[in-house]
Structures are given as structure tokens and as C-alpha cells.
């Protein structure tokens, strides 16, 4: 990712994330968060994690935030009234924030990768292809499609992710599926309690398919 774009998207992500916290209007906050997420997705894509980036948009921006907006609008939440901030509390929050930032900065300072740029670690197609061929010889299932794409010098992200997901993380995937099912049931139950609320019930489940 070229540096200007990186700066642009980082600024977008960070700036709108700050705006989420700073805004008192919940609708604005939610929309700022959407923009922030889109920026984040762009950063993901810049890190050649296409699939994760798109999923980020699809799930977060497309579904989760819509839900948020939905709830905000349904409940007709008004702006938080401007309260006098508790000085002590604010000061404490800022102190912790600065402290954590300081810690993370310290970690980065000591961390080699922290100073590396993306060009220092290019994707090594040759090595990858050799390894995959060796794997194929020893009977490990690899996506032929992805290998072919690697030969063309393309990083077929989705195929590689899928390969990993269904080979190494199959059990986890199923567990997640069960978790989502449980969440769906829980949401429907929660939403049903007082009066039939079709919106929260039906919209609660839609992540099941998208993820």
C-alpha cells in the first residue's frame, strides 16, 4: 500500500473512531463508526488480507452497524444531555489512556517488526509454491486453484484463507456455528419477552449466514 493511501486510511480510521467517542448524537456516532470500519477494511486490504477486509465491511459495516442504527432509531434515543463531567473520573480515564499508549509505544519501540515496512517482507511466491508442491506430494490437500494463482503471481487470498479454515480450524468453525446458533436463540428469547418484536428477532439472526 502506498504511503499516502496508508496515511489517508489510517487518519480516516483513527479520526472517525475518535469522533465516535466525541459525538453526543448516537446516530452520528454510529455513522462515524461505519466510516472508521470502512477505513479499517481498507487497511486490511492494504495488508493483502482481502477476505478479512471484505468481511469487515460485510459484517460490521453492512450488518452490525445497521443493527445499531436500527435500534437507535427504534428506541428514538436522544442526544446525551451535556452533563458536568466528573473531573476526577475524566482525569483518571485520560491517565489510563496515556499510560496504555505509553506501554504500547514501549513495546513497539523494542519490537523489530515495528520498524519494518511492508516492502521488507514481500510475499515469496517461489518458496510458497515449492512448499505447496511438497505438501501435495505428501498428501496434504491444497487448493489447486490457489497454487495456480500463486504461479501467476497472484495472492488468492480467499482460497488460502478457506484452505486454512477448513483444514486446520474446522472444529473451531463448527463451534462458532453453534455459538451463533445459541446467540440467535438467545436474541429471539430476549426480544420476545414483553411483546412480539419481529425486528430484533429477525435481525438478530442475520449474522449466521454472513459469517
Amino acid at each position: 500500500m502506498p504511503l499516502p493511501l496508508f496515511i489517508l486510511f489510517s487518519a480516516l480510521t483513527l479520526g472517525f473512531a475518535v469522533a465516535v467517542i466525541a459525538n453526543r448524537n448516537p446516530v452520528t456516532a454510529a455513522l462515524c463508526l461505519v466510516v472508521s470500519f470502512v477505513g479499517l477494511a481498507a487497511l486490511f486490504i492494504g495488508l493483502s488480507a482481502f477476505f478479512i477486509g471484505i468481511v469487515q465491511i460485510l459484517v460490521y459495516a453492512g450488518a452490525v452497524m445497521v443493527l445499531f442504527l436500527f435500534i437507535i432509531m427504534l428506541m428514538d434515543i436522544e442526544e446525551e444531555e451535556r452533563k458536568h463531567f466528573d473531573r476526577l473520573r475524566t482525569a483518571g480515564g485520560i491517565a489510563v489512556g496515556i499510560g496504555v499508549a505509553f506501554l504500547i509505544g514501549g513495546v513497539l519501540w523494542d519490537f523489530d517488526y515495528g520498524k519494518a515496512s511492508l516492502d521488507d517482507v514481500p510475499v515469496q511466491f517461489e518458496a510458497a509454491i515449492t512448499l505447496r508442491e511438497a505438501d501435495a506430494d505428501s498428501g496434504i490437500v491444497r487448493s489447486a486453484n490457489a497454487t495456480a494463482a500463486l504461479r501467476e503471481g497472484r495472492l488468492k487470498d480467499v482460497a488460502l484463507v478457506g484452505e486454512k479454515l477448513f483444514n486446520d480450524y474446522n472444529l473451531h468453525l463448527q463451534m462458532i456455528a453453534v455459538l451463533i446458533l445459541i446467540a440467535t436463540i438467545g436474541v429471539v428469547t430476549l426480544g420476545k419477552k414483553d411483546s412480539p418484536a419481529p425486528d430484533s428477532g429477525s435481525s438478530g439472526g442475520d449474522k449466521a449466514s454472513e459469517s
Partner: protein, 597 residues
């Protein structure tokens, strides 16, 4: 065919009855009878085989503890199994008639099957742990059967009493098993035998004696030896066939059987043998004395059982398991016969159990009288009945081993003849002393056929060829004219005295309070429990209030309360405060894990 089938058949019956045919008493009864008859068939079919098998490795704690579920099918087991299944079958058949009108027939037969299963387990067990498990199962089924009419307070109490008394003995048994395991590292009989044969390394004679006596505790409980004999007479509250099966022929004999199984241990320790022999002799005498003054027909038989079991235990203690098993075997037949006969009488007299309200039944129930008479003759060791042979063997061994015990045994023989003739005279001869007795009728064929079979066996079972055929243990004794004459004399004296004293009497001519009140055992136990237990409880309660409640529970409560009070300040219920603290926590965590490493 394998001995495992013997275990599976009654188990299957239990499962079928409790999960399937519970709704139908008749069906359950048929299932149960079929299973026990099948067991008898299998036992007979397996008479010529001799095998041990390990069905599965059950518990394996490394090399330390190995417990198998294994079966041991030797002559001892075969003979015992024959007794159990035969008497069991006859009792089941008898029960068909006796329990015909009972409401909880399905439960009754289910419990009978459960008992058969547990008893089979004891007989076939090839290690102490397995035996203990079935031992407890026997206790449970006995509890259920004694308390069959649990709506009757006395039956429920009797069931509890039997269970609790047994528990005391079982506790000793468990300690004995653990001691043996600690000494030898094995719980299987074979392993223990090998260990003893190899010079019982690492165990002093005292430890060995203690272990043997602990095992004996189990037998004391189960075989109702003094001082834990009190449950057996009370257990007569259960249905009479149950008394015949469990409390005369099989379950109480399990204690003796167990002692014979671990006979090699008792042989190894002279002291233990002596103690066991004296306990047995003492019990025999005590029970015989008590039997002379009882009015309840079943209680008389119960005390008689106690006394006979005392014989067996005594002779085990004297080192002859064969004689004990031989007596067990003959006793099973004639005592089952007597109990079933008593059951028939009770049934005919509309559940009247007091012998002083019977009388004159000889003419009204001739078949029962004949069978009962044969049983009595066998019990009092009338020459050339089965009981005669086994008692002869016991007296012979007692004469050789311990003269004092021989005297006691002879006295018991006299008393036996006395109280049995009393029973016979009062019940069958003379004139009816109550309306029920006057209207008694001979019982149905389904009831007296078992009686006749048992009567036949009571006569012939003692002869050597029959005993050989039926796989009984035969003691190695020689004909001894002295013993014969002593036996004959005591028997004739006792029987004669009984006849003279009780013929045509309308009530007990002379009441001896000590004997009639069973030496005040129950009262003594009651007093002991009341005072000692309450005293102990008082002390324990004090300790509990002081330490457990005051310090442990109360202290923890107060500590928790105090700490809670402290931390409640933090729990504001405010999400933001929590997240703030969370942030601080993250800060500290990172600081300590990353920077202070």
C-alpha cells in the same frame, strides 16, 4: 455356557420387572420364577465344570490396585449355588401362592430377583471387593424385602434395624478388606492365597489376626452372630417365604460362606480362629436359650437359625470349613422346609403367628404336619436324617479341638430338641386354641409341593453319595460312638422333656423373663444408643458449635462478609467504573508481563 449366565439371568429379570412388567404382578412373578428356575438349570448343567474367569478388568490404578470382575466356579461355589438356586426356586414357587393377594407383587418378585442376583454375585465373586459390593446389594435387597409391608411400622423398623446392624458388621468387613489390601496389595482370593503360601511377607501375626477378625465382623453382621444378632428375629416381619430364603437358607449363610472362602486366612491365625469359634459357640447357646421361651412361631425358628449358624461359625473357627459348609447345606434344606411349613401354617391360620393360638393342626393339615415333622427331626438331629450327619461332624470336630465348646454344643443340641418339640407339640397337637386354628385347612398344592421336595431332601441330603452328587463339601470325620451316644442322649432328653412339659398345655407353664426377653439385648442396645450416642452427640455438638460453626463456617462467613463489605465499595454497578478498573488492570498486566520480565 458360562457361570456368568447365573449372574445375568436374575439381573435380566430385575431389569425386565422394574422397567417393563412393573404394572403386572402376575407377569413379574412369572419372569422372576423363570429366571430363578433358569439359574437352577444352569447350575445343574455346569456341575461338572470347574473354571475361573476374569470377565473384565474393572478398576486399575496403575500397578497399585487391580480389581477384576471375575467369577470363581469351584466346588464350594457349586455347592452353595445349588443350595441358593434350589431353595430360591422352591421359595419363588411357594411365594406364587403365598403372595397371591399381595398388592405389590411385582415389587416383591423384583426384589427377590435382585436378591438372587446379589447372592449369586457373592457366591461367584473371585475377589473381596466384588464380594463386598454384592454383600451390600444383598443387604439392600434384604432391607427391601423385610420392609415389604412398609406401611406396617414394625416392618419398616425391622428393615431399618437389619440394615443398620448389618452396616456395623460391613464396616468391619470393609476395614478388613482395606487391611488385607494394604498388607498384600491384592484383593483377589487367589492372590491372597498365594501371598499366604509364600510366607505372608511383611505382615505380623497380630496384623493378620486383626484383618481376619475384621472380615469376621462382616460375617457377624450378615450371619447374625452375637452381639449383632438382634436384627434377625425382627426381620421375621417380612413375608415368610422371604424369611425362609434369606433369613434361614441363604443370606445369613453368606457370612459362613465368606468365612469359608477366606478360611485360609483364619487357619493362618490361631487367635482369630479361637475368637470366631467362641463367638459361634456363645451365639449358639444364647440363641437356643432364647428360643425356648418364644411364642411367635417364626421367632422360634429365627432363634433356631441363629443357634445353627452359631454352630457353623464355631466349627469354622475350629478350622473345619467343610463341616460348616456341610451343615450349611443340610440346614438350608430343613430350615427352609421349617420356614415354609411355618408359612403354610400362618397362611392357613390367617396370618396368626402365636403358637399358643394354634394347636390341633395335625389332623387339619396332615401334609404340612408331616413335612414340618421331618424338618424338626432333621433339625434336632434324629439319627439318619441329614441334620444328624452334619451335626455329628460338628460335634466330632468340637470334641477333638476344644472340649469346652463340645460341652456347649451338646447343651445346644439338648436345647434344640427341647424347643423344637415344644414348637411341634404346641402347634400341632392338642386342641385348637383359637378360632382361626380351628378352621385351618390344608394349603394348596403349589405350596405343599415345595414342602415335600424339601422334606425329601432333608432326609436324604446327608448321605454321602447324595452329598457327593450335589457338590456339597464333605467333612473328613470318622464314625465316633461317643459322639453318637451323646448326640442321641441329648436329643432324646430334650425331646422327651419338651413333650412331657407341653403336651396339652393351654399356655406357657412357666415364664422365664430373662429368656423371654431375649436377655434384654434390645433394651441394652437401646439404653446404650440413647445414653452413649446422645452423650457423644452432645460432645460433638459442642465441638461443632465451637469449632466448625464458630470458627470454620462462621469465621468464613464473617471473613467473607468483611471482605465483601470492603469490596462492595468498588461494586458501584456503574459500567464505566468497571471499564475504568479494567483499563487499569490491563495497564498493570502489560506492565508486569512485558516490562518487568
Amino acid at each position: 455356557m458360562s457361570p456368568a449366565l447365573l449372574l445375568l439371568l436374575p439381573l435380566l429379570s430385575v431389569v425386565v420387572i422394574f422397567f417393563g412388567t412393573k404394572w403386572s404382578g402376575t407377569l413379574s412373578a412369572l419372569v422372576s420364577v423363570a429366571s430363578v428356575a433358569g439359574s437352577l438349570g444352569v447350575t445343574l448343567a455346569l456341575f461338572s465344570t470347574d473354571s475361573s474367569m476374569v470377565a473384565m478388568n474393572w478398576i486399575a490404578l496403575g500397578d497399585v490396585l487391580q480389581v477384576d470382575i471375575g467369577l470363581r466356579w469351584d466346588r464350594l461355589a457349586r455347592g452353595m449355588m445349588f443350595v441358593v438356586t434350589l431353595v430360591g426356586t422352591l421359595v419363588h414357587v411357594f411365594s406364587l401362592a403365598y403372595m397371591r393377594e399381595d398388592e405389590a407383587k411385582a415389587r416383591y418378585f423384583g426384589c427377590l430377583s435382585l436378591f438372587m442376583f446379589s447372592m449369586t454375585g457373592i457366591v461367584l465373586a473371585d475377589n473381596l471387593v466384588m464380594m463386598f459390593i454384592f454383600w451390600e446389594l444383598v443387604g439392600v435387597s434384604s432391607y427391601l424385602l423385610i420392609g415389604h409391608w412398609f406401611t406396617k411400622a414394625s416392618a419398616a423398623d425391622a428393615a431399618k434395624k437389619a440394615f443398620i446392624t448389618n452396616r456395623i458388621g460391613d464396616f468391619g468387613f470393609l476395614i478388613g478388606i482395606l487391611m488385607l489390601f494394604g498388607l498384600t496389595g491384592t484383593v483377589s482370593f487367589t492372590g491372597l492365597e498365594n501371598w499366604l503360601a509364600g510366607g505372608h511377607a511383611g505382615a505380623s501375626a497380630g496384623l493378620l489376626t486383626a484383618a481376619a477378625l475384621c472380615l469376621f465382623c462382616g460375617a457377624v453382621g450378615k450371619s447374625a452372630q452375637a452381639p449383632l444378632h438382634v436384627w434377625l428375629p425382627d426381620a421375621m416381619e417380612g413375608p415368610t417365604p422371604v424369611s425362609a430364603l434369606i433369613h434361614a437358607a441363604t443370606m445369613v449363610a453368606a457370612g459362613v460362606f465368606m468365612l469359608v472362602r477366606v478360611g485360609f486366612l483364619i487357619e493362618a491365625s490361631e487367635t482369630a480362629g479361637l475368637v470366631i469359634a467362641w463367638v459361634g459357640g456363645f451365639t449358639a447357646l444364647l440363641a437356643a436359650l432364647m428360643a425356648t421361651q418364644q411364642d411367635d412361631i417364626k421367632k422360634i425358628l429365627a432363634y433356631s437359625t441363629l443357634s445353627q449358624l452359631g454352630y457353623m461359625v464355631m466349627v469354622v473357627g475350629l478350622g473345619s470349613g467343610e463341616a460348616a459348609m456341610f451343615h450349611l447345606y443340610t440346614h438350608a434344606f430343613f430350615k427352609a422346609l421349617l420356614f415354609l411349613g411355618a408359612g403354610a401354617i400362618i397362611y392357613a391360620c390367617h396370618h396368626e403367628q402365636n403358637i399358643w393360638k394354634m394347636g390341633g393342626l395335625k389332623t387339619r393339615m396332615p401334609i404340612t404336619f408331616a413335612a414340618f415333622g421331618i424338618g424338626t427331626l432333621a433339625l434336632i438331629a434324629f439319627p439318619f436324617t441329614s441334620g444328624f450327619f452334619s451335626k455329628e461332624a460338628i460335634l466330632d470336630i468340637a470334641l477333638h479341638e476344644n472340649k469346652l465348646l463340645f460341652l456347649i454344643a451338646a447343651g445346644v443340641a439338648f436345647l434344640t430338641a427341647f424347643y423344637m418339640s415344644r414348637l411341634l407339640v404346641v402347634t400341632f397337637l392338642g386342641a385348637p386354641r383359637s378360632e382361626h386354628a380351628g378352621h385351618a385347612k390344608e394349603v394348596s398344592v403349589i405350596m405343599f409341593v415345595p414342602l415335600l421336595i424339601l422334606a425329601f431332601l432333608s432326609v436324604v441330603a446327608g448321605y454321602k453319595p447324595v452329598a457327593e452328587l450335589l457338590q456339597a463339601q464333605l467333612p473328613d470325620v470318622h464314625w465316633n460312638w461317643f459322639v453318637f451316644f451323646v448326640s442321641l442322649a441329648t436329643m432324646l432328653a430334650g425331646a422327651g422333656l419338651g413333650f412331657l412339659r407341653y403336651l396339652d398345655k393351654r399356655s406357657e407353664p412357666k415364664v422365664i423373663p430373662v429368656l423371654a426377653n431375649k436377655f434384654y439385648f434390645d433394651e441394652a442396645y437401646g439404653w446404650a444408643v440413647r445414653n452413649l450416642q446422645d452423650g457423644l452427640a452432645w460432645v460433638v455438638r459442642g465441638l461443632d458449635a465451637l469449632f466448625i460453626d464458630g470458627l470454620a463456617v462462621g469465621g468464613i462467613t464473617r471473613l467473607t462478609e468483611g471482605v465483601g463489605c470492603l469490596f462492595r465499595r468498588v461494586i458501584t454497578g456503574n459500567l464505566q467504573a468497571y471499564s475504568y478498573l479494567f483499563g487499569v488492570g490491563v495497564f498493570v498486566l502489560i506492565y508486569f508481563t512485558v516490562f518487568l520480565r
